[in-house]
Amino acid sequence: MSTYNLKINGEKKSVTVASDTPLLWVLRDTLGLVGTKFGCGIGQCGACTIHLNGIAVRGCQTPVSSAVGFDITTIEGLDKEGKHPLQQAWCELDVAQCGYCQSGQIMTASALLKRNPKPTDQDIDDAMAGNLCRCATYTRIRAGIHKAAELTAGKEAGV
């Protein structure tokens, strides 16, 4: 057991856990941030996607010890009002079915939009291939990303 000082969603958190504990379980069990989901534990499904300094990574493959010094962002901290363009688009287009994968989808998509504000379908295919949606809401996830890109562009243009 060791103590780690983390910066999560802009807040400093100190946790005492085994050094190999994946950030996923620190978030879920230690800090009660359960929006980051457990799906497979081997980095194959994307349900645990979070950001380290704005880059999308898998929480289940990130030992807590390696996350020290990074700005960690989870779905709970993506936007303090819960109104990130992707969150708005997801609600407007009624994307979710069961909703279990959607935190991960949104975290991957928000990292995509940050580096590529107007992604093509091909860009979306490439960026989102690591995130499974068992309900297969892929049609609306794709539409939601395009919609969020429009919302962001509209905001910047002052529309």
Partner: protein, 739 residues
């Protein structure tokens, strides 16, 4: 096998209960008691007041006008937490934006509370309309009495009663005190809205929990936390039915964070099947999920693997082949007309073998349940589709009375039928009782693969006779399966004069269970693919050939009480609609093709035309699917309905393209997603067009019926594109290269 949905109360006993509830207890009880986990429930507690109006267990109107509607069945992604309350709101006459929806725990007062088999809409639709209309009737009576005017001069609009001649109005909030004192009428006596006046039903309404989903709120079973709880894992024998001989518990108990570890060597069958209920294993309890997972890596168990430890898929395939050849183990489930004579007179006889692999449910939320045993009572928080069966099974496993088992059904991270079975709840309950502390049991993904209750594989040997004009005159099907479930009426049985179906069970010990559109999801593939073969063999157009089989009769009754009537007119309707919208018959270059799939399942009639491109190198792309869907007279929530059909179509491709599970040495070979190819964003179908065909029949569910037609539509399109016939699932076993 069929899931036992929890016992639906009959209408009469339900009415009795809802009349009791009108005394004002039902919903208020939940507002006050179910505070531990669902945040919104505890918040609503604060707004509960004694003067509120509770005309049924499902409806609560506070004196400030707040309308709260109960969602009694589990939300598994099928959208019923939104769509079922919409039905009440439509008849009640309130603005949807003024409605709050809360989930309620298991209680007989709500009637059937299972979610499965696409049954929620058909079993709830008329009842919930009457619930809403009853409340509306009482509010109108209260307003009319206060104005001393006839009720016939009053109507409702957006949460107010309006007096037509004068235009004066009273809000529902202002009426609750008076309405609460009125006797609740028989719900069958109230006047329902004319569907032409619906303003909410049929519109696009977003899911009531969407904002919570996109901000990561604790909605799901796996998110539940109760004070002082331990985190549990339960390790079972990889060979189904195996028992624990011994385990290195001392080593496990010495691992960091581990609080306890023990062996459970009981078996409590579910549906009389010992591999489907509580099975033996080793429980490990720790102070975090990770510590429990880590300790598990040190666990060594000596198993008694039992007599099935040499079973394999290849062995099952061999057994099926033997059964088809010798007929040993096959039973006739249908033998109409004179099949053998018809084969002799046929101009052409075609035989083909089809088979399909085992697949898993792979709910993205692994199986889990939180349990707290105190005294002789247990409380469960579980992502279960079937709380009624959970209650009965847990009571049996703990040897307590069912009324001592209470269940909160959380939001569910994907159902697909897996969570109709109560095994994770039985495990959690037994562990909680034994350790004496509240626990959350979480299955690893590997547990979830290995101990799934699989969509069974299966084998068909078909033989069909065509006359000189290519008309189907004789049909025979030998079905070799894992659970011996083959009905006498499987399509096209009722439509062919000479038809024989024989079915047999391959000896096995594999746990199987309902998987989205059980039976139909594989029957749809084998039947519609073979019919496509027959159409081509007889030189016929597949659409026209199928319409000929479906004939000119409207409704064909089922054989025996369990078989549903088949409305051939509705099926012809959707086939024609899908073909027309898809541009069926247009000429496509080699490497591109269109295929038809259609199937009647779960009371829905669906036809789909798929369009595919296959490169010379054999690379498949499904470019377009046009679906025609007949689920009756009324789509409840258009947004949710389209989402279900889109999802079912893509899941249809997901489950038939690359997914398969192999069995060797009596156990599953695949362990996690790296060995099991799920469909991902790049392979999704970009162009999905959905047409709802509105017919006069009662509305039915959409969780399942759009899935079965997809696999044959794609397989038949591949044949049209390449001349390669796919006779097995997954598609990926068939070499699609062409030149």
């Amino acid at each position: 096998m069929k899931p036992t949905l929890s016992k639906e109360l009959n209408r009469r006993s339900f009415l009795k209960l809802s009349t009791l509830a009108s005394g004002g207890l039902a919903l208020a009880y939940y507002l006050k008691s179910a505070t531990s986990l669902e945040g919104q429930v505890s918040k609503l507690t604060e707004s509960t007041d004694e003067n509120s109006f509770k005309p049924s267990a499902f409806v609560h109107i506070a004196h400030d006008g707040t309308v709260t509607l109960a969602s009694a069945r589990p939300e598994i992604g099928q959208g019923i937490k939104t769509s079922l309350p919409m039905i009440i709101a439509e008849e009640l006459g309130v603005k949807w934006t003024d409605v709050k929806v809360i989930s309620v725990p298991l209680d007989p007062i709500f009637g059937g509370q299972a979610a499965g088999g696409s049954t929620s809409t058909p079993t709830s639709y008329m009842h919930l309309r009457r619930v809403g209309a009853t409340a509306r009737t009482l509010l109108i009576q209260a307003a009319a009495a206060s104005w001393s005017v006839p009720v016939t001069e009053c109507y409702v609009k957006d949460g107010s009663v309006v007096h037509k001649p004068t235009g004066k109005s009273l809000s529902y909030g202002a009426l609750v005190q008076a309405a609460a004192k009125l006797p609740v009428p028989d719900e069958h006596s109230v006047v329902l809205k004319d569907p032409s006046e619906f303003t909410l039903l049929g519109s696009r309404i977003g899911g009531v929990d969407n904002q919570k989903v996109v901000t990561g709120q604790p909605l799901f079973g796996i998110d539940q936390v109760i004070p002082g709880m331990l985190y549990a894992v339960y390790v079972k024998c990889p060979v189904w039915g195996g028992k624990v001989v011994s385990a290195n518990l001392d080593v496990v108990k010495s691992q960091p964070g581990v609080r306890d570890a023990f062996i459970i060597n009981e078996t409590v069958p579910y549906h009389n099947n010992p591999v489907l209920g509580l099975v033996p294993g080793v429980a490990i309890l720790a102070d975090s999920t990770w510590n429990a997972f880590s300790a598990r890596k040190q666990l060594q168990v000596v198993w008694d693997e039992g007599k099935f430890a040499n079973d394999s898929w290849s062995g099952y395939s061999e057994a099926a082949k033997q059964m088809a050849t010798t007929g040993k183990g096959l039973k006739k489930v249908r033998d109409s007309g004179n099949v053998d004579q018809a084969f002799q007179t046929a101009a052409k006889v075609i035989e083909a073998d089809y088979h399909f692999a085992f697949i898993g449910h792979t709910n993205l939320e692994p199986q889990n349940t939180t349990a707290h045993f105190t005294g002789n009572k247990i409380h469960l928080w579980s992502p279960t589709q079937n709380p009624g069966d959970v209650q009965a099974s847990v009571a049996e496993a703990l040897d307590i009375e069912p009324e001592n088992v209470s269940i909160v059904m959380t939001r569910i991270g994907g159902g697909f039928g897996r969570r109709l079975h109560p095994d994770p709840c039985m495990e959690a309950a037994v562990i909680a009782k034994k350790c004496g502390q509240p626990i959350k049991l979480t299955w690893s993904r590997e547990d979830d693969f290995q101990h799934d209750h699989f969509r069974p594989g299966g084998f068909h040997h078909f033989k069909a006779g065509l006359d000189a004009k290519g008309k189907l005159i004789a049909f025979a099907d030998k079905v070799m399966g894992f659970d011996a479930a083959s009905g006498a009426d499987n399509y096209p049985a009722r439509f062919i004069d000479n038809c024989r179906i024989e079915a047999g069970k391959i000896p096995n010990n594999v746990p199987t269970g309902p998987w989205r559109a059980p039976g139909s999801n594989t029957y749809g593939f084998v039947i519609c693919s073979f019919l496509d073969e027959l159409a081509h063999a007889g030189g016929r157009d597949p659409v026209e050939f199928s319409l000929e089989i479906l004939g000119t009769k409207d409704v064909l009754p089922g054989t025996g009480p369990r078989s549903a009537p088949y409305n051939a007119a509705r099926m012809r309707g959707v086939i024609k609609l899908a073909a027309e919208k898809a541009g069926w018959g247009k000429t496509l270059p080699k490497g591109q093709g269109m295929g038809l799939g259609y199937y009647f399942s779960h009371q829905g009639y669906v036809a789909e035309v798929a369009e595919v491109t296959v490169t010379k190198e054999g690379e498949l792309k499904v470019t377009r699917v046009v679906a025609a869907v007949d689920v009756g007279s009324q789509i409840v929530n258009l947004s949710g309905a389209e989402n279900q059909v889109q999802g079912a179509i893509i899941d249809g491709l997901n489950s038939s393209w690359r997914q398969e599970l192999d069995i060797q040495n009596g156990r599953l070979v695949q362990s996690n997603f790296h060995e099991y190819q799920m469909l991902r964003m790049p392979d999704t179908i970009r162009d999905i067009e959905i047409h709802f065909s509105k017919t006069k029949y009662p509305p039915t569910g959409l969780g399942e019926p759009a899935l079965p037609p997809l696999a044959p539509a794609v397989a038949n399109a591949i044949f049209a594109a390449t001349g390669k016939r796919i006779r097995q699932l997954p598609f990926s076993h068939t070499d699609l290269r062409w030149s």
